[in-house]
Symmetry: C2
Subunit: 244 residues, 2 copies
């Protein structure tokens, strides 16, 4: 049977989602280990978003094929009993055999949280990036508007790749909370470090170090070195994965 | 000038509020150190609630007499710049010279958060006590009703003391959230470990290990050994301090 899981995690102490040869300290690895113990066989799960080291998830989706007599509620309970406290399985449901959490995903939502007053974020401090310099929000929003649409985002990708670097960004929303500026990105997919480089670029615009209207040129350059700095992973959260 | 501060902290890594000879790892100590550096003199602050090791605060109140030309906003900013990320100063205000945060406090609110489904508390897990056994809420509420009022709470005090152990509990409220049972205590003051022992006793009632109607007898016994277990500090938060 093919199962779909909805997963939350605090990524602070992990080397990202994706299982690696060099370390067993990944979220995928932790979940696979528990499922392997449960079923007595090797298990591979597929995550919709391969979040980087230190990135969090409110709504990661993964699927896994299991041969088990456990009910979905028993699988969920088994996982939550044996997983560490910073990984939570919100739900497990049965899916058609062809469902694949990554290949079938059509939309992803990430948010980047900036602590403009970190003293107001004692309890969720690990999920925000402290940044107290004053920011020109209007310029940031104008810059963000140029990123929306289908573009080649090579300038915002930390890794050279032969695969397509064309993605579609559907919206970039700015929200103000007490002591927090939150930027939420909706799109059909994001490249390696893309959201963190876009956010660093927007912050440079907000600081006045970069012109909002220079973004179209930056996109056309297809050159990572011309974009802004990479903001830290701690402020980034995978919020939701969408399917048709 | 006498200043009043509103303070939040994640108590996880501290040996409680109160400065101790044996350790500099207290919240009072951290704040005093920064204020001493700011003013160049020794400084003593007075906290309204002397929270134990591992206990958190959403609304601790403290006062301090300072000889400084800094404005209240500058004092707040200086503190937040130099304090660690897990202590936040929400506000600083000038007060009449006689104001004393502890001696003038007339009401305190604490909440104890129980994670009935810890998988739903990945992001605030450090502020809840995981407790997944099923609980009879009605029995717990009946037991709690006996604790309300002015009583000698010696049975719920972890320390022998010659001072009065009479306190007034104004209300004990039960709230249900997804995966969480939250118990909020309002009163004029609480003894050492009193809320944690009351909560442990209520949990034993919820488990059926103790009769709800045995509470009046337990109060009269004035004997700590007859009350329930002490729940961990991690679930306890000082929410608010009230003044007339």
């Amino acid at each position: 049977m093919n199962y779909r899981m909805l997963i939350q995690y605090d990524g602070t102490r992990y080397n990202g989602w994706q299982r690696q040869q060099s370390t067993d300290n990944t979220i995928q690895g932790k979940i696979e280990d528990v499922l392997s113990r449960m079923t007595g066989t090797e298990v591979e799960i597929h995550g919709a978003g391969r979040t980087d080291a230190g990135v969090h998830a409110l709504g990661q989706v993964a699927n896994v094929h299991l041969d088990t007599s456990y009910s979905v509620e028993e699988i969920r309970s088994y996982l939550n009993t044996w997983l560490p406290e910073d990984i939570g399985i919100l739900s497990v449901q049965e899916m058609p055999p062809r469902f694949h959490s990554r290949l079938n995903a059509t939309a992803k939502t990430y948010c980047y949280r900036i602590a403009t007053d970190p003293s107001l974020h004692v309890f969720d401090r690990k999920y925000l990036y402290p940044f107290t310099e004053s920011l020109d929000r209007d310029a940031m929003k104008r810059a963000a508007s140029y990123l929306i649409g289908e573009h080649d985002f090579q300038s915002f990708c930390a890794r050279k790749t032969k695969k397509s670097t064309v993605r579609r960004v559907d919206s970039i929303d700015f929200e103000e909370f007490p002591g927090e500026l939150r930027i939420t990105y909706h799109g059909n997919g994001f490249l390696y470090y893309m959201i963190r480089i876009m956010t660093g670029t927007l912050l440079e615009v907000g600081l006045g170090k970069r012109d909002a209207d220079s973004i179209p040129e930056l996109i056309l350059a297809r050159d990572r070195s011309q974009a802004g700095f990479t903001v830290p992973a701690r402020g980034l959260t995978l919020v939701e994965v969408g399917y048709e």
